[in-house]
Symmetry: D2
Amino acid sequence: MISVREKVRFVETDLMGVVHHTNYLRWFEMARIEYLRQVGILLNDLMAEDIVLPVTDVECKYRASAKFDDYILIEAELVEVSKVKMVFTHQVFREYDEALLATGRTQNAFTTRQGKIIRLPDKYFEKLYKSCR
Amino acid sequence: MISVREKVRFVETDLMGVVHHTNYLRWFEMARIEYLRQVGILLNDLMAEDIVLPVTDVECKYRASAKFDDYILIEAELVEVSKVKMVFTHQVFREYDEALLATGRTQNAFTTRQGKIIRLPDKYFEKLYKSCR
Amino acid sequence: MISVREKVRFVETDLMGVVHHTNYLRWFEMARIEYLRQVGILLNDLMAEDIVLPVTDVECKYRASAKFDDYILIEAELVEVSKVKMVFTHQVFREYDEALLATGRTQNAFTTRQGKIIRLPDKYFEKLYKSCR
Amino acid sequence: MISVREKVRFVETDLMGVVHHTNYLRWFEMARIEYLRQVGILLNDLMAEDIVLPVTDVECKYRASAKFDDYILIEAELVEVSKVKMVFTHQVFREYDEALLATGRTQNAFTTRQGKIIRLPDKYFEKLYKSCR
């Protein structure tokens, strides 16, 4: 499990005075990318080999609203991985009072840029697999 | 059920060459807002009475990628409504070949701007209820 | 000169209750892309030939705020074009009272995806040149 | 002059493989907000007194493209301030080679949420004025 610390941006808020709900899913993605980096996989390296990671499934439950200027902690944990997909769970906490703001789950497939499904090469799969409880 | 027609914007794409997955949820929201308008409920009127509609739950499954300049059809159907929440299902189609790109489900609560849960006033509830099969 | 009609999206607003100022520049881009289409140039065709159009310069002056649910008209006019750049002026109007909300000017260069400056091929240049008063 | 360090987000890129040009203006805003914080002015405090800061004018020149995963440094410097407006200049650098990516200038007015022009209260004006060379 890894955690990324961010500050809520002004532009992430909307007319209702809180963060727009879709931005939590953008935060999840940032944490996933950081998770991959920490196990030794760079998105740029994958893309250089024509491997992309389209999201095939997302879920998010919202408990409380993040607000402008809040510090937040975004967690990513790999809970399932195979040669054809990976599944993460995510949590977002507000830093100052540790309130849980949102929980989520995302699934990515492995494809070429043209959308052809591929099997993740061993050198990447092994890094993910070892990191997954 | 209502349907909104949009063209995919350049800014909605990302480095992988297709629409970023979070934008589908923004499209769902546009269709929900249009659904409300068609049954006679304007978001601006709700907000003027200090009623906001925070999303409490989203799910989305992605089948195929929307691309820059595609025309898309975004559907919203109200499948459940009570005084404290409403649930929509959504579908996004690519217009030219009617391919189903994504399906989703969203739940909104009714609260004040301060986040206090409220019961939706009858004048609004009745419009929603009547529209819901 | 061409004009594109759009409705302000909820997600385009921010905490201050109006459209975030950067979205006007996204609207300008939508109108530029539509201008190119109307003179017979598709961005997808340019990209298929490894021609991209990085913005090198933008200016925008804001007169009044666009609000959620407003219909807006976004204008693009090509005011200068050469083999190495094109310059557009833009205006955004609110539809219902024709209020001028913003004016702008943007300059794009022509480069490869790798960022190498190129001269726009004649078949494209001529279409642009003819359209420019 | 203050500087904010950020990492380019995946969602900030577009189909052309680099950061969408409008995101630089969002970064400028983040640096302005941080500048205000460092001189002792919180946007949330201003808004609590019904003071908002609409952007009335932006300019940006782009020299080189920020890419996904780059670390960037975003600078904000207050160059002019009065009771009715403030003017900042901005620069964005890529961290690893100190390349200048973009320069800009922004002007904000002081108004109520309803858009009425106001004079910035002394307690805020003095902090800004002292910080301005």
